[in-house]
């Protein structure tokens, strides 16, 4: 698979920008598309959308419970509703509206959690969403998608527009390099994407941790000759069990990496499946530990907790050595 190596952070857009651009494109031909915001059009890069399609944007004000309840009511009439709000508030303040008005009632709202994870790193825990996978995984009838790069974001938004059931999509606001330039690249909810292949280690990332996972894989290969498979597990639920079983079947060590608490997210979802299906691979969950989260930029927080090229490589190396 072809890899991007040069000037990556400059060349690519934030997934947030891709989201807003894709939505504008969709809205120009589909008048049933409706964006609903909680004073979040600026944070959601949706000002141009509002200017071009004022009739397709509904402002709720800073009231996330109402945002989700109203979005559910709108969606019940057949509109394709994108409810956009910072992931931290969207999935905590309005958790019960997501559970009841969206998921339980099966109103097909597209819940868009912007500036997810520690994108608002310096603003503190009020603005971090490190709970959303755990909380939402336990809610029946909700697809959870975490695109890693511009390609996955664009596809996720287009697919979401066509999806007739509730979905939650979260991403950050930092420019994200393409994971691969593979022209045959595909994207389907519930099907993880293998973006690099190797036989010594499996690194499963999701969202903005996939790129450092790829960097770590390159480092391990360059420095130690360790070849890693890297997966973008962009759909947290339903999880791609088939791919997990296939990856685990050779017995290689597995590392999961997520911008989320180590409790209840991608890692524990994978571990639960593997353990209950007889796989005993060496296994390590990387994420944000259960503590008062350090503050700083997203990249600084990633480095602090080892969700970086060096940190992931080190964890992978230790696991490979322990297993050998």
């Amino acid at each position: 698979m072809a890899e991007i190596t040069q000037n990556e952070l400059v060349t690519y857009k934030a997934n947030l920008d891709v989201f807003s651009g894709t939505l504008q494109e969709l809205a120009s031909t589909d008048k049933t598309i409706l964006v609903v915001t909680s004073d979040s059009r600026g944070s959601g890069k949706l000002v141009p959308f509002g200017q071009k399609f004022p009739a397709q944007m509904v402002e709720i004000g800073i009231a996330e419970q109402n945002l989700v309840g109203v979005a559910a009511g709108l969606a019940s009439t057949g509109k394709k509703v994108f409810a956009v709000s910072p992931a931290c508030f969207l999935t905590a303040r309005s958790f019960e509206q997501i559970k009841t008005d969206v998921a339980y009632s099966d109103n097909p709202v597209k819940l868009i959690g912007i500036s997810a994870g520690v994108s608002y790193g310096a603003l503190g825990s009020t603005h971090h969403s490190l709970h959303d996978f755990a909380a939402l995984r336990a809610v029946h009838n909700l697809i959870i998608v975490v695109p890693a790069d511009n390609f996955e974001t664009e596809r996720a938004i287009r697919l979401a527009a066509q999806t007739e059931h509730p979905i939650y999509i979260r991403f950050g606001k930092k420019p994200m390099p393409l994971l691969t330039e593979d022209p045959n690249r595909r994207f389907e909810f519930g099907k993880g994407s293998v973006v690099r292949e190797g036989n010594d280690l499996v690194i499963i990332g999701t969202g903005e941790t996939v790129y450092p996972a790829i960097q770590a894989a390159r480092r391990l290969e360059t420095l130690y000759g360790i070849r890693s498979t890297v997966v973008s597990m962009h759909t947290i639920k339903p999880l791609d069990y088939e791919l997990l079983a296939q990856l685990a079947s050779s017995g290689v060590p597995i590392v999961t990496v997520e911008e989320h608490s180590v409790y209840g997210g991608l890692g524990e979802a994978c571990a639960s499946f593997l353990m209950q299906n007889g796989f005993r691979n060496s296994f390590k969950i990387m994420g944000i530990p259960d503590e008062y989260t350090v503050t700083g930029s997203q990249i600084e927080i990633f480095h602090h907790y080892g969700l970086s090229e060096e940190g992931i490589a080190e964890t992978g190396l230790n696991l490979v050595r322990k297993t050998a």
Binding site: A55, Q65, N66, V70, G73, S105
Partner: protein, 275 residues
């Protein structure tokens, strides 16, 4: 439907509410009896909705925010032909769709509710969709007075007037009691009218058991063009069964066989007067 016909229907509805609650050994008896006259007028006199047009985008919507008094709604929906009344024999039984709160698995139910403070936002979204599309359907929701402390109600109330949703009518089943006691003792929300007025609503009071007054009130919708309408329906919890009226224990009390017999006798008397 004349007021006499509506009154007869309500006696029949009350009989059925008790029948199915007794059969299920569970239900929100007092609140079902306080709101059933309002549902009667809505479904038989006001709402443009029935089994034939339930999938139509132009139908009127009714969303019950106080989901726990679903027994009253089930009985009315069965009477309207949304499903066979015999289905209600499965109320709250293992595997039944007829559970203790509204779900869309039951024909005629618009939204799943049960957790309080959700109906108004759902109704605001549904009413706003009509405004965006230039459709003429109306949206009705019924809230309990006991659920008003839920903050989401006030978020919904603000937005309804912001978007001038005069196609939205919220009704408060103001029976004055909730599970722990009088609503004024638990968390006093009075004056409800002035609060909603301050939020930009047009408010009317009505006797929630007076069919003529209810018909007249709903006929006046919207009370003011460009404003959402609130009907504060003054009701009696347990209405129609003397020993249940205004008695807290009948919030979700189930009559024993003697009490049930007594209740049926009172309803028969009420019916005889209406003939």
């Amino acid at each position: 439907m004349t007021e006499q016909e509506l009154a007869r229907k309500s006696v029949d509805y009350r009989r059925k509410i008790l029948k199915y609650i007794v059969e299920a050994k569970a239900g929100h008896t007092g609140g079902s009896l306080s709101c059933v006259d309002i549902l009667n007028v809505l479904y038989n006199h006001v709402l443009n909705v029935g089994p034939d047009n339930f999938k139509s985008p132009l139908r009127d919507r009714y969303i019950q925010s106080k989901g726990h008094t679903v027994e009253a709604l089930y009985v009315v929906l069965a009477d309207k032909g949304f499903f066979p009344e015999a289905d209600l024999m499965t109320l709250c039984k293992y595997g039944s769709h007829y559970i203790g709160h509204p779900t869309r698995k039951v024909n005629g139910i618009e939204q799943n509710t049960g957790s309080l403070g959700h109906g108004l936002s759902l109704s605001v979204g549904t009413a706003l969709a009509a405004k965006l599309d230039g459709l003429s359907y109306r949206v009705f929701t019924m809230l309990g007075d006991g659920e008003l402390p839920e903050g989401s109600n006030w978020e919904g109330a603000l937005l309804a007037s912001h978007y001038k949703l005069d196609n939205l009518c919220a009704i408060i089943d103001n029976n004055g009691l909730q599970i722990s006691g009088a609503t004024t003792d638990v968390c006093n929300t009075d004056p409800i009218d002035r609060k909603f007025e301050a939020f930009g609503w047009e408010v009317r009071h009505v006797d929630g058991h007076d069919f003529g007054a209810l018909k007249e009130t709903f006929a006046a919708l919207p009370f003011t063009v460009g404003k959402p309408s609130l009907v504060i329906a003054h009701t009696v919890k347990g209405r129609g069964i003397s020993y249940m009226e205004n008695q807290l224990k009948w919030h979700h009390g189930v009559p024993n066989p003697d009490q049930y017999t007594h209740a049926l006798a009172e309803l028969a008397e009420a019916e005889a007067v209406l003939r």
